[in-house]
Amino acid sequence: MNRLHSLHELAALRKELSAKEILSPGKKRMRVCCGTACRANHSLALVGGIREEAHNHDADIEVISTGCQGLCELGPVMTVEPPGYFYHKVTPERAGDIVARAVHDDKPVWDLLFRRSIGERPAFFISDVPFYVKQQRIALRHNGRIDPTDILQYIAVGGYKALEKALSSMLPEQVLNEVKAANLRGRGGAGFPAGIKWEHTRRAPGKVKLVIANGDEGDPGAFMDRSIMEGDPHSLLEGMTLCAYAIGAQKGLIYVRHEYPLAVKHLQIAIQQANELGLLGKNILGSGFDFSVQVREGAGAFVCGEATALVASLEGQRGFPNPRPPRLSEPGGGPWGYPANLNNIETFACVPSIIEKGATWFLKTGTTSSPGTKVFALTGKVKNTGLVEVPMGITLREIIYDIGGGIIGNKKFKAVQTGGPSGGCIPEQYLDLPIDFDSLEKIGSIMGSGGMVVMDEDTCIVDIAKYFLSFCQAESCGKCYPCRIGTYQMLQILEKITSGKGEEEDIEKLERLGTYVQNSALCGLGKSAPSPVLTTIKYFRDEYEEHIREKYCRAFVCQGLGQVSINAEICYQCKRCIDICPYEAIRESNEGFFYVDQVRCQRCKACFTVCPLGAIEIHELPVLYIDKELCYFCRNCINICRVDAIKETSTGFMIDLDVCKKCEDCFKVCPMGAIKYEKEVRLLKAGAAAPVTIPTWQEQPVGEITIDEIRREAEEKTCAVQKALTFIEEFIEGPMCGRCYPCSLGTEEAKIRLIRLSQHLGGASEDDIAALRRIADFMIEGSYCKKGRDTGRFLSELLSTAEEEFRLHVAGTCPRRECISSIEYVVNPDLCVACGACAVRCVYDAIEGRKGDPSEGVSPFEILRNVCVRCGDCVSVCPTGAIEVISRVREEVVPTE
């Protein structure tokens, strides 16, 4: 690339690029997202595949690897021009289809288009995707549209025009005034007006000044700065250059989070290309203005996002914050004492548009006090997550429901956390609040860097507060006491509350401590660390109280609240809880019931959520004590206690309640009844049946037929095969839920085999008996529940006690003459009038003969023995009673009626 020596040459280059059709409209073009998330889903392979296919087709397709396009969850995403189809979840294997379509007829690849649901029309263009509809892009204007590693593309879409304008026709003061007039507020946290900050730095004495871009994006859940650095680094560079021009700075530093290697790489490429073209470095575009930029990597400390800590880190020190003043903009405040202007990445990325289009244009968007747009990273329990850039003043409802598509699983919205761990929780009542810097602050939260984590009813508010606090606590640099000790203390209290040991005054203690920390911590980290706790107490106090008083967590998140037990009357032992329990706490008692072993149970409540019948119940934790009057020190309780909770003291035995797991083992062994409950244990929550619909289960009130009844009914039969068949048929009709295979498939197969044996149908053989034995064994071993296993056992017993009888059935006889195979139907030729009624009725085509007139003499109908299944239907239709039933065993006529 040739260095550009003047503004003129830049304009000429832009013209040349458009002549070369770089990014010109109408050309075949594919933009494939190669942001971090899409890369993780193999978008690089997709790009390779498309290039190769295009080459194979000899097609002229411009393939652009872009930065994050914002809908990471649907990644890898791409657009295809013309006319701009938006494809989602594109795997590398689809490259062929996509290119073929684009080459042949410009029709979309249908199955890659985005649909909200199967029945709906697909969204053809990115602008039709609900996620994009309300978005308006200023900071992300080029993101996802150009190749971030190619400066020419940035120039082709109008990049560096703002710099061109500033250098050609604006004095530094004018640039500054434009930014001031646009009231661009810092996007990195507090929303301090950038123009005023610039002015401070400009006014600071001394010739040497610095521009610093804060790319230390440490808020969990936020990734807009990364996306700009990765996807459109030149916007940042241009913004920084404009700032440097306005405040008279010579050097720029970009402090990038260590976890963002791709951002570092793209920034370095961008800086190098800008240097080569003379857009950075000495005598930029021949204007005599010098400005160089370099990247510095952080080393993994959240606090280094704070301005003074960042400065310390740049100097090679521990990243401790320092008291202000001096501010960064003052001498002695910036790195190595030079005045510096520090802004967030997104703040800088907004600057070029402001200079190019003017402050009045910028003021048209957003609210009066906070003009422009803001990028949010929408995450948590919303359907569509990703980066959204929206005008300030939009409501939370629009973001969460219109853009985010609502809550996953259509659950109930509970709260949204804005501003990361330094922000606050916003409850449902503020969903319609237009959000900007000031409105959010009024309700106790902050805009912060734009993280937005949505929570639904399954999220426990106390747990979330604890999580955010523990983040800040762990990231506290430890320099000042309020932050280091205060956050730790608060965390301990929250830990206490969530583990069921909360006490009455804990909420007040939290509030008091939180306010102390807020007021006295040295830096923003400590000052804002209590916010999530304080706002959640403010808006969800009842939930805190519930945890403390009731020891109950309505979202079932907090471990250690409530005692989990199984209601044996409801439980039908499907074993799902056993499968899910991560602690192997559900056991089978000697009597065959399931119970929760309280010593193992960690109260995760996983079983509660899977039980299809709601047999799992949550009770208040019992409080046991030893009545000293009754205890005679037999030590039974001490011996049985598995956690050594019973202590010997000088005054007798005592239960250490902190150690006690409330398993109640001691209660059961005490011969004196000296172990007592402090008060009656209340039932807090009986499980609701989990939402599984099993048709047979719901249609029949199964609880009414028990295995015992079935057994009784079966025992009434005399023939073993009939016994087995009755049992199995009744079981299939009644209690079988069909959820486990040994049971559901096994019983069906057993039924078929038993019918075959009992009716001596074609193919009945020894194999059937072997199969029955196998089925019985499988069911005994593998069935989930006791009913299944009992059925297996019954079958197995029968098979061993009456093996000979089963064998005889194979040979075609039922010794007890209960099975139809022991009888036969024959047509008595003397009575048959050849009316043919039986032949019509027989659904098995087992009756042959020709209809005739009795007066002329007839040949009687005949029943084919090997086809007849002995259903007996023909008997009922014969007008003359010519069909007789004979026993095959004794060759005698069996009375039919």
Binding site: N41, C72, E259, E297, F302, G316, Q317, K381
Partner: protein
């Protein structure tokens, strides 16, 4: 990498023009530590001693800086470095379960390495792939969407494999 070969001017870059010799040396400290770690996998004490001489900083100062930042380690790491994201988005989508599962499967705790140096388990704050939450990285390759015990099990099996 030879610590002595670390060019101070080249490392500090353009801002170097504004700085004194000692400021420059101090200024590249974090970068130097990053490079050593990249090269060796951790910060061996011998190398830090050499660095101390090269940058004219006391060893205690180097340790004080290195111990502040979370990325630096003083012990070697396993062949596979598994980082479970405990960032907000991942946390609310259940990354704790993934962490527990790995801890149990390999009998390691967070920031420990298995005795055979096969696996090191760590946690990270958000790595910026919240759209794929819950996210885990294995040697910096992002593996997302580990929801449900079956996916987690498959993931653990893949960790065991080569």
């Amino acid at each position: 990498m030879e610590v002595e070969a670390l060019g101070i001017e080249e490392q500090i870059g353009e801002v170097g023009a504004l700085l004194s010799e000692q400021q420059k040396k101090r200024g590249i400290l974090i970068q130097a530590l990053q490079q050593i770690q990249e090269d060796r996998g951790y910060l061996p004490e011998g190398v830090l001693q050499a660095l101390s001489r090269h940058l004219n900083l006391s060893l205690s100062e180097i340790f004080s800086v290195a111990s502040f930042y979370k990325m630096f380690r003083f012990t070697p790491r396993g062949e596979k470095v598994v980082k479970v994201c405990l960032g907000t988005a991942c946390y609310v989508r259940g990354s704790k379960k993934v962490l527990d599962a790995i801890e149990n499967a390999f009998d390691v705790k967070v920031s420990e390495t298995t005795p055979d140096l096969a696996l090191t388990l760590e946690t990270v704050g958000c790595i910026g792939c919240c759209g794929l939450a819950p996210v885990t990285t294995v040697n910096d390759v992002v593996i997302g969407d580990l929801v449900g015990s079956r996916k987690v099990e498959r993931f653990i099996r893949s960790l065991r494999e080569e």
